[in-house]
Subunit: 240 residues, 2 copies
DNA sequence: GAGTGGTCTAGACCACGAA
DNA sequence: TCGTGGTCTAGACCACTCC
């Protein structure tokens, strides 16, 4: 066993964290002041602040100007979800077939990408499979700005935000997504080897650049008996 | 107009952030060292570190021991989603009817809550509505440990994690959730004023305490034509 | 005015990576 | 060995809150 040296500020934050988790410090309760903690632990104010800082980041406590630090209420109102990114292809799913073409935007595409009807748009279509079983149909639209979509083979490996970034010369910094239940239509059903009207889950995602301009739109339709969305929510962001 | 004084470390982080967003600093590129930055901005290393710290927290850069700071690759693989918490009742939806009872766990409940079959379990059932239109059926199970479920009226106002915490004397620190498409059964359909077999979205959530023990299980079934799940993903956590 | 959090300095020393 | 990031000190001053 090696006596691992731990930074003092980590010892302080761990100590306070434990007291919070054990209920010795209750939500809403005020912590000792920075100067008191500094004296208690025999360190300077800056070191104490560093420890308190990590607790603030992780959501255990918060500070009020001129008053003090207080123990936060644990909440679970937001969750984190894995989106169809790079790992989606690499690890879980394998793309079975893909198609890339350029088309003119119809009304729906124009709305989603905030371009005028008739604009050039790059479309990619994939079938995602788990082993030999097709699970999802994936259709993506990128507003066409520069460069040719000569990278058919690259498309299935890189993740969508990266492809969009390359084609639009913009960085994707935000995306919105929605998840809804749908009935599969004939095309989707036959591609996913099931019957029309079967239960499906549709995950839609729109990518935006820094200025809030839509750069890409993806729509994935899954067989709901083979895939469901899952995620985690934690009241404290740090490792417990 | 008031000339707002901004902290030096914020000026530094803003400056670097702009250079990253404008592409003057590319992903993978190394930043000037702490001492170089200190000299450039005419401040001490500690002040520079504070500025770099916020950029690390927000995911713009990362540091490598003994080497330097590097510009991070933007990723969008995880998203944040709003879960049925307090705001779910308070703002969007109104609970129309509720029911509270105690029952013995069947196999399914026992599995979810990690208790033995036949254990006492508290069950609450709500109908959630948007205006006059019923949108979702919500059913929640709490492993019964102490205290009586005397708080029928309180149940519809507090959020689930809080109720669970009060009944189990434990803090809810984690939850997992899943979202899947379902067909509504007769009971659900009639409660939601639609026909059996209609499209539904089912959001399931399990709450855990610090030791990973399940404390509660909730299952919400929505009319998919009146509700869909949505969320946001951002590559940088700070405000841009 | 006393107590609090927030910023900043000018040093010091340690741990790590690469040459 | 040198340059890098990571930790820490012993002060100082400012801004805010409450009495």
């Amino acid at each position: 066993m090696k006596a691992r040296v731990k930074a003092i500020y980590n010892q302080i934050s761990d100590d306070l964290k434990n007291r919070i988790m054990q209920g010795k410090l209750s939500p809403g309760e005020m912590l000792p002041s920075q100067s008191q903690l500094a004296e208690t632990y025999g360190v300077t104010q800056m070191t104490v602040r560093q420890g308190l800082g990590t607790l603030v980041e992780d959501g255990y406590i918060y500070s009020v100007w001129g008053k003090g630090y207080f123990v936060a209420e644990p909440t679970l109102e937001t969750g984190i979800i894995n989106l169809p990114g790079r790992n989606f292809f690499g690890q879980e799913f394998t793309p079975m077939m893909n198609e890339v073409d350029i088309l003119r935007a119809d009304q729906e595409i124009a709305d989603k990408l905030a371009v005028i009807v008739g604009s050039k748009v790059i479309r990619t279509q994939l079938t995602l499979a788990l082993g030999d079983n097709p699970v999802a149909l994936d259709c993506r639209y990128i507003s066409y700005r520069k460069g040719e979509p000569q990278l058919e083979n690259e498309l299935q490996y890189a993740d969508f935000p990266q492809i969009v970034a390359r084609h639009t010369n913009s960085v994707v910094v935000k995306s919105t997504f929605s998840i809804e239940a749908v009935h599969l239509n004939e095309i989707e059903a036959s591609a996913l080897e099931t019957s029309p009207g079967a239960l499906g889950l549709c995950v839609e995602q729109i990518l935006y650049d820094v200025n809030g301009k839509p750069l890409g739109w993806s729509r994935m339709v899954c067989r709901s008996d083979r895939y469901k969305v899952s995620g985690v929510a934690q009241s404290y962001s740090g490792k417990v």
